[in-house]
Symmetry: C2
Subunit: 357 residues, 2 copies
């Protein structure tokens, strides 16, 4: 928190110096355009390039954005100093006002304040959560883990059927006890609940986590922190369709729109556990597949072109999806019985280490 405040102060001081020197006050904002996002082979993650643009105060095209950037920076500094967290939407309302004797607003729509917040995130190389701005919440977790959060000691192994609800901001959480051999990340809550009920995490000594769809930032950060702080392998279990593969890709490589924080939200050692196109044959799921839509085929083609899906194994999977024009959901495993996933599918895959990288 102190570091965030310091960075915000430095931003302010820089502008102040410009004024004192009689220069046009300006800020340097790294570009978040597609052309400035690269796949970094060394880290295995999407990363932002070094192109940036200057934002000037005395420039008709920049002046309003400059003012907005200063407002957001001042606002987040207040949040930090007062120890308050809030959402992007609340921040918009809190910052929205009308200039006296005019019809001009500081911000008209949230679509104006959101990118400014990311600008500051990128410019200061700081997570939005560290500025006390919360993102969406989704995701739950169980396992033999004890954390400390806001003074409470929370035991993830003793939360009944519900599990621990992951908050948007996990920066200040301390891991006090982590007893697990790996992290199993599951796209869907239904599969999570089945595995939880079957005590899968106890038998296989793992942390069981569901993203409930695309992983929210808080969830990605928890996976990244657990994996890097405790050297835990991460296995991702999703549907075999373009959406599922993208969930996996974002957890592992980071996302294009958030490439500037891949190092904190991405987990490059994450591996894909399933479902695979091969699983459909191997586990007799043919009757439980779904016809792939045109969008699935198109998206699979796009994935094939991504540098980080270029391994022969991935190319083979994607080609199979496109040729057979089918996809399959995690629930398809229930076609083989409700305990099939817990007792057969997962133990076999884990034992044989059948992962895609």
């Amino acid at each position: 928190m102190k570091e965030s405040i310091k960075k915000l102060e430095q931003l302010g001081e820089k502008v102040l110096k410009d004024v004192e020197k009689g220069e046009n006050p300006n800020l340097d904002i790294p570009l978040r355009t597609l052309s400035n996002v690269k796949y970094d082979k060394k880290t295995g993650m999407l990363t932002i390039g070094d192109k940036s643009a200057k934002r000037y105060f005395f420039n008709v095209a920049h002046a309003k954005k400059f003012m907005q950037t200063m407002m957001v920076a001042a606002f987040t500094k207040e949040l930090l100093e007062e120890g308050i967290h809030t959402s992007l939407r609340d921040a918009f309302y809190a910052l929205k006002r009308t200039f006296p004797n005019s019809n001009e607003n500081t911000f008209d729509e949230q679509s104006e304040s959101d990118p400014i917040i990311v600008d500051i995130e990128v410019a200061l190389d700081i997570l939005r959560e560290q500025l006390h701005l919360s993102a969406d919440v989704r995701g739950r977790v169980v396992g033999d883990v004890v954390i400390e959060d806001r003074g409470d000691s929370v035991d993830w192994s003793k939360l009944g059927s519900g599990g621990w609800s992951m908050p948007s901001n996990v920066e200040e959480i301390k891991f006090k006890k982590v007893k697990a051999d790996f992290i199993l990340v599951i796209e869907k809550n239904a599969a999570f609940e089945r595995l939880h009920e079957d005590k899968f995490w106890q038998k296989h000594k793992c942390i069981l986590l569901t993203t409930q769809g695309q992983a929210a930032r808080g969830v990605r950060r928890v996976i990244q922190r657990l994996s890097s702080e405790f050297k835990l392998p991460v296995y991702v279990l999703t549907d075999i369709d373009s959406y599922g593969l993208y969930i996996y890709s974002v957890i592992k490589r980071g996302s294009i729109s958030l490439s500037h924080v891949s190092d904190r939200l991405g987990t490059p050692n994450a591996k894909f556990l399933g479902l695979t196109m091969d699983d459909i044959e191997k586990y007799g799921l043919q009757k439980f597949t779904i016809k792939a839509e045109d969008t699935d085929i198109k998206r699979a083609q796009e994935l094939m072109n991504y540098e980080w899906f270029k391994s022969p194994d991935w190319q083979r999977q994607l080609k199979m999806l496109m040729q057979k024009k089918i996809k399959a959901e995690l629930e398809a495993l229930s076609g083989r019985g409700l305990k099939f996933m817990t007792e057969t599918y997962l133990p076999e895959k884990l034992k044989k280490k059948e992962f895609l990288d």
Copy 2:
């Protein structure tokens, strides 16, 4: 659980008796059409009428559905006997198979199995959750409450910033300690997080719960159970727009599509705390309103016609919405400062008991 199994067995025995008597085996399924849903003034909830339809085995139009009903009934009996819970989608896959030497499937789409599950729910007057079929999960809660769930003792006051993640099935949860004067139900997670951070539930001795949008069945059941088992008043805080009012309405009156379980999912003593159209003036939120869309206006007109929105107070609110053509979100309160909701708005409304019923 024993009661559910007994009801399922009675269903089977009834059909068996029909066979033994040489009659056409049949089931009596209450109708879920709009014409068979009524608002019951006495209970203050939507309720299903007494029209029903017979489903026959020897009837070309009924035979497949009859078979499907038997399959689902047998499947849920297995779930109960084996102590397994699963989702509607998994149930579909588990029940889907192809008849030997044919292309005919038991179920082709989940849209076939879902209504059959509701048929059984209605026919046996039993909650789907009591058949071990889970619904969507959403919603989190904090408060001075200790529950017992699957052998774990979970203290809702000691879960850090995340709160307890409400599972889809709360039938088997035991409330061991409930220290609260009321339940505050909040539509949006952002407002929930702000209030939680400000320790609102400690200062005002309440249970703080967010539905995160339309309340999932599990959440509605938790509200209903806490309210009825511990005589707790329920206050609902939503945006003032057609969606927010509908969330409130469903919590209080039940919903049309689930009118057969209103007595277990509805909480008729729930009261609407805000936002109201009056609040916009009273709390100076004019600058933070949003233009109401045509759909909002149309929906407000529909609400005006509902019997349970006929009180002069509600008619006035709805008229104001339609005339001023504006709506407001909970986040609008942040326009007055991030602690305005915690320190001014809610304490004032609660003190003056400014509720709509």
